[in-house]
Amino acid sequence: MTDSAQTLERLAASDYQYGFVTDIEQETVAPGLNEDVIRLISTKKQEPDWLLEWRLTAFRNWLTQQQPQWARIHYPPIDYQAISYYAAPKQKGEGPKSLDEIDPELRRTYEKLGIPLAEQAILAGVAVDAVFDSVSVATSYKGKLAELGIVFCSFSEAVREHPELVRKYLGSVVPYRDNYYATLNSAVFSDGSFVYIPPGVRCPMELSTYFRINASNTGQFERTLIIADEGAYVSYLEGCTAPQRDENQLHAAVVELIALDNATIKYSTVQNWYPGDAQGRGGIYNFVTKRGLCKGRDSKISWTQVETGSAITWKYPSCILRGENSVGEFYSVAITRDYQQADTGTKMIHIGKNTRSTIVSKGISAGHGQNAYRGLVKIMPTAENARNHSQCDSLLIGDQCGAHTFPYIEVQNPTAQVAHEASTSKISEDQLFYCRQRGIGTEDAVSLIVNGFCKEVFKELPMEFAVEAQKLIELKLEGSVG
């Protein structure tokens, strides 16, 4: 083995730094799933009847569905009755009125995670909604946003304060019967974020949600709904971590985006759930449904994701391009190492005229990691002059890992232009040699090359996130280069 190979292998052993458990009083519902549990969740969240009915319809539908088997991922069957579907930090009397009233233990958790809650939030100019297990604990910077008419709150609060908006849009992009995990989510979703940007408003700051699974044996089922009204703009960030545990935990979220005429939604994710240990024990099963609807003309939805965590990632942020001239984008970096598995990609459904989409997917596999891109580009007969360009590149580090590409391209309109390109390679000895010859150590050279490989995606991330993502990748690759 070459010297560089050894350095790379050694680097792989870095630890998960967010693996701590917060010792906090939790209120958890006993494991199991039936209609009573759903009623209990709904009652705890003081939801209106229509929402309970919606949940129950979803649950009944879920019972008739089968767990999907088509992805290139392997895991033991999940016992859905062994999961607790609700876990919340115990409240003392009334809910918190301001940030100061939040449990200091919880505050310390988020500080450890480096989330700019409270003062930090204002300094950093980021409004944060933090979701701890199943409940949204604090939404910072709310007043300032309210002045502009922007609604940024937890999902439960939105159900109470803006039921008409929630009722109108909930399930309009991801119907309750969409797929196994989305249906499960529709039945048991606990909390999440809700954003509404009124017409013509450009949201002055990045909105951000931080998700954390803390309690053991729980699943997290958050639901995010973002609506950008005519001419509105919003950039939304999402981050995730979880403690280190030996058993697998389930995370099945649903995100729905709706962009009306001339609206733009930019959705960025840095996903760093606990990936399991080096032997593949534990870790989060991340089965997420994310979909955006470009409903209005000239609307735009852009997904950027950096997927570094989770034992299994099953996630296809998609765009339905219905409005004329609407634009869909998908930028992704997915990295798998140890025994992580990722089956991720996007769907671009072109319905409207002159719709355009871009897909840039970068997969990096190290150790025993398996990384698959799976995507669909569908040009419907109505999509005159639709354009798509897809690029999927894979980088292999080590000879035990795998990189896979499964694009589905369906064109039903001759005016469309659809092109797909994919490549798979390893870091070439030439590139490494070139760097080392100039006095750059192997480790730095690898990180340089990998960052160059991911650059097209990183440049789409908001600045702070881009830096974080870059560091995360470096950390992930420590000791895995070969």
Partner: protein, 435 residues
């Protein structure tokens, strides 16, 4: 796999029993047939809920009451000619027609013959290699072919045999809702070389479900051409299995312009170091034709190279389906594999579905795929029109350039020229709707 459609398989079971009762053949072959039929029953008739059959609509085929193949007389003029001296075997409705075939002298121990002649005589040679190649294990029609084939071509070239003249195999079907299951078994021992042209033609409505097994020993070289010009009402659902040993080279040219539904499943296993494989496909589709290719190229050993280029030109309501997989096993380092799928849509209702896939488990490889679908480049059109060429002519020229690229890779000149004429006629026949 889904359950069997019982309504469908019962007539098949009867047909199989009747078929077996008629045939007098060795137990080794009969055992093979029974196992294959059992496999067919387990797999069942494919449905569109199965990933591999999502875009292949078999309903019109399923609606037919298929008849057992029977002998027929046909006019020799309906059969394609290569225009050069060739070893020629003609099969009518799946059975060898010796009167239409022309055999040429061969060296000792080499065979180019029909199964019906070869089987009793060379059972020891055939039985161990028939249906022995991996691949298409989950293909119901491959199983059906193994259970029900009546005749076919057996080609065996011993070590170092090089056959200069092309081997020309013509399969002709005469309609009447007949189902024919022709078989081709080709074994090239180490260092052997051959050029094979397989042509499928017919008249009326029928199902042609051929299965070809191509085995290449060390350093063997094969040029294989499949020319599918079935009748416009025909169904063609076939399979090809290829097994390659060290440093062997297989060049497969697949041309398709006939049939209302034409599907070929191809599996290539590069099972020796430095093995190389080229698959060059061209589909011309018009009216409501469906041209469908599913292929899997498996790199099992290091230093393999493979290239697949599939093009389709679609007019009318024609549909093209391409599903290609390059699988690189962990051991197959230094693999160089490339896959391209390009579709030209000439009309508003034409549709193309392209699904090029990569599964790579080795790290030191160069693999890529590309896919593009669209209409002609407006800049190129403009360029030609600016030089006084009419729009119709300009388009015909550009389509010809697109498709002819595939034909240019064919080294067997007389065949290439014939296909080029066919392409020109096809382009003249169909006005390009444009948009």
């Amino acid at each position: 796999m889904t359950a069997i459609a019982p309504l469908f398989s019962d007539p098949y079971r009867q047909a199989f029993a009747a078929f077996m009762a008629e045939r007098r053949e060795s137990e080794a072959i009969a055992r093979l047939r029974r196992a294959a039929f059992a496999r067919f029953e387990t797999l069942g008739w494919p449905t569109r809920h199965q990933e591999g059959w999502r875009f292949t609509d078999l309903a019109p085929l399923q609606a037919l009451t298929l008849q057992k193949a029977s002998a027929a007389l046909i006019d020799a003029a309906a059969l394609p000619e290569l225009g050069v001296a060739a070893h020629r075997l003609v099969f009518i409705n799946g059975r060898l027609a010796p009167g239409l075939s022309s055999e040429r002298p061969l060296l000792d121990r080499a065979f180019i013959t029909g199964f019906s002649q070869a089987l009793p005589r060379d059972l020891d040679l055939i039985a161990p290699v028939l249906d022995a190649l991996p691949g298409l294990q989950f293909h119901p029609f491959a199983a059906l072919n193994t259970a029900l084939w009546e005749d076919g071509a057996f080609i065996y070239l011993p070590q170092g045999t090089v056959i200069e003249e092309p081997i020309h195999l013509v399969f002709y079907a005469t309609g009447g809702d007949m189902a024919v299951y022709p078989r081709l078994l080709l074994a090239l021992e180490d260092g052997a070389q051959a050029t094979v042209v397989v042509e499928y033609r017919g008249q009326g409505r029928y199902l042609n479900s051929p299965l070809a097994e191509l085995q290449l020993g060390h350093d063997a070289a094969l040029h294989y051409h499949q020319v599918q010009e079935e009748s416009p009402q025909a169904f063609h659902v076939g399979g090809i299995r290829v097994h390659q040993s060290r440093a062997s080279q297989a060049n497969l040219h697949l041309f398709s312009s006939g049939g209302q539904l034409a599907r070929t499943d191809l599996e290539v296993l590069l099972d020796g170091e430095h093995a190389g494989c080229l698959v060059n496909g061209l589909t011309l589709g018009q009216e409501s034709q469906t041209g469908d290719y599913h292929l899997r190229v498996e790199h099992a050993q290091p230093h393999g190279t493979s290239e697949q280029v599939f093009k389709s030109v679609l007019n009318g309501q024609a549909r093209a389906v391409f599903d290609g997989m390059i699988h690189v096993r962990q051991h197959a380092q230094k693999t160089d594999a490339r896959q391209t799928s390009r579709n030209l849509l000439l009309s508003r209702q034409a549709q193309a579905r392209s699904n090029p896939r990569l599964e790579i488990l080795a790290d030191d490889v160069k693999c890529g795929h590309g896919s593009s679908t669209g209409f002609l480049d407006p800049d190129a059109e403009f360029y030609l029109r600016a030089r006084g060429i009419s729009l119709t002519q300009a388009r015909a020229l550009l389509v010809h350039a697109f498709a002819n690229d595939s034909l240019n890779r064919i080294t067997l000149t007389p065949l290439r020229d014939r296909l080029a004429r066919l392409l020109a006629a096809w382009l003249a026949l169909d006005s390009i709707e444009g948009n």
